[in-house]
Symmetry: C2
Subunit: 361 residues, 2 copies
Amino acid sequence: MKERVLHIFKNAPEPLDAIVIANDVEPNIDMSFYYATGVQSGLFEQCAVVLWPDGRSELFTSFLEETSALTSGSEIRTYRKSAERDQMLKATLKGVKRVGICGSGLTYRMLQEMRKWTAAEVVDVHKAVEAARMIKDQAELESLREACRIASEVGELLPSILKKGMTEAEAAAEVNYLMQRKGASAPSFITNASFGPNSAEPHHSPGEDRLKAGDAVLFDYGALFRRYGSDVTRTFFFGKASKKQRRMYEVVLEAQLAGIDAIKAGANGKDVDDAARKIIDSSEFKGLFIHSLGHGIGLSVHDGGRMAPDLDLELRENMVLTVEPGVYVRGEGGVRIEDDVRITKGGCEVLTSAAKELRVV
Amino acid sequence: MKERVLHIFKNAPEPLDAIVIANDVEPNIDMSFYYATGVQSGLFEQCAVVLWPDGRSELFTSFLEETSALTSGSEIRTYRKSAERDQMLKATLKGVKRVGICGSGLTYRMLQEMRKWTAAEVVDVHKAVEAARMIKDQAELESLREACRIASEVGELLPSILKKGMTEAEAAAEVNYLMQRKGASAPSFITNASFGPNSAEPHHSPGEDRLKAGDAVLFDYGALFRRYGSDVTRTFFFGKASKKQRRMYEVVLEAQLAGIDAIKAGANGKDVDDAARKIIDSSEFKGLFIHSLGHGIGLSVHDGGRMAPDLDLELRENMVLTVEPGVYVRGEGGVRIEDDVRITKGGCEVLTSAAKELRVV
């Protein structure tokens, strides 16, 4: 993935002879390994990729994952034992004086392993990698579009899932099944289905609580497609909606649309957050929007970049971010509405299309 | 989780004043954080836990996950901003001269963060943590039993899933749905459904290949229950089975039973591997069992410990490991049979019960 590698070097704060990205074992995998190599399958535990300033990359893979390695844009170096990996990397990195690492994904243990490969000075360039990853290229956008299509189609079906007396865990199972039937390789994170008061907890884990009339029903879910994940939230009301619930929904939807409206290349993320937040804070729900407005998505569900108060983030073309205001009333319930958008020169393209008018199911 | 903390300190190679376990952001979470604290829900990105030699633990959590933190056995310290976290940890670690870290789960970035908390000498104790995690306590066994029950019940249903012309991805979706309906919070890893020649690739990703008569059908899957995952493989034949396929199955099953038979506390993992391997290597499938016999399971699907040639591992009571011999013929297909077992004094308890007689569906 030559362009991606060049992009990382361009972002680096100082000249480097090479960059090494190395995985530990699951779950301690550096998603940047997948970014730099473009491998479409495989796990690559304790494997490494060496990036060079001319855009070349060398992927050191164990024999077991050689087939997956062939889906990458890198030159493939296959080893059978880790001692062989160490020898090959030592030879490869000979003469390298200053080497970049990706400190947000490299474990301390793998850094010690790396010491067997090179004595070069180490520079943590995770910010350069993150900045490159934030601007999506065409292949990444294609995967994200597909991940968003799947989540959107499932979004339209959410009301049909709901049955009185079902548990949150059952509802989450239905969402995951629908996503996978529509082409997702997996959910992009653990699906959140929250009923009633549980919807007031932004990160609720679906459990055994059962659906009853008057409940707010909040689904926060996403589809993984070729390692890229979407992230969508829809909130419904089951059986009936109180005046307060309707009003919450109205305010959150207005805030979300205002946020989307404020987005464009060149805007500051904190101003977009403010455009949405001030609508909630000038309503009777003041102070109840307790998280930031959105975050980057991609290979990780929190892929770098946030639109939040007091945080400068210059929005740039082809960043992909969530826009997800919410209002949470402890003990009663919450409403959140979340879409994924691609930043464009003049505004943004909303990639997730499921209906979001207030709906009583 | 006092006993777990004491166990880690007991395993440490030298006296320590404290141990710090810190998460980065998903997926770079240290599963040992969940082990040491026992938290049942929540993600705890960039949160830390401090373990003390007397068995106490202090969990530093962001306000957003305070509710989840209350499910832990640790003392809770809540912060709102990371600067506040840094201050609290600095005060807590005052006077600590030598601090343990878990190098297999700590990122380089979080190590730099930790430098704001303490100037103490750092000792990587990930082997001590891994050794503690390998011996499961009662709460862990309870979760693993449930994860195994779910996978076993689904195992019995696998033949009923199979329909001529279905894709591997569709078959994997059915498996995941069944697991979640039976109480799994998620699959414990990406479900592998391999048809025909794809079954010869141990780590195949399910794709668009369709099921046809004569195919071997290999399912490798597991259920996650309270963060603990099972790991099971069953192989079937669709429509018909050739003489060679039947023979492969027979040999792999015999090898698996021999492996299970060789297991007991005090045995060496490499001897157990050998007991299974020599059955395959004395058959016409010599050399086609291309991976190790088994690995520990728990909070991670590769949870520490392997039964493999040339690797010493003393089996101890309440370790939980997979036993999974296989035979792989490139271009044709493979057979693998995998169960999860708990080591006992005199042998082992097989935790996964799905039928494993040769079956043509």
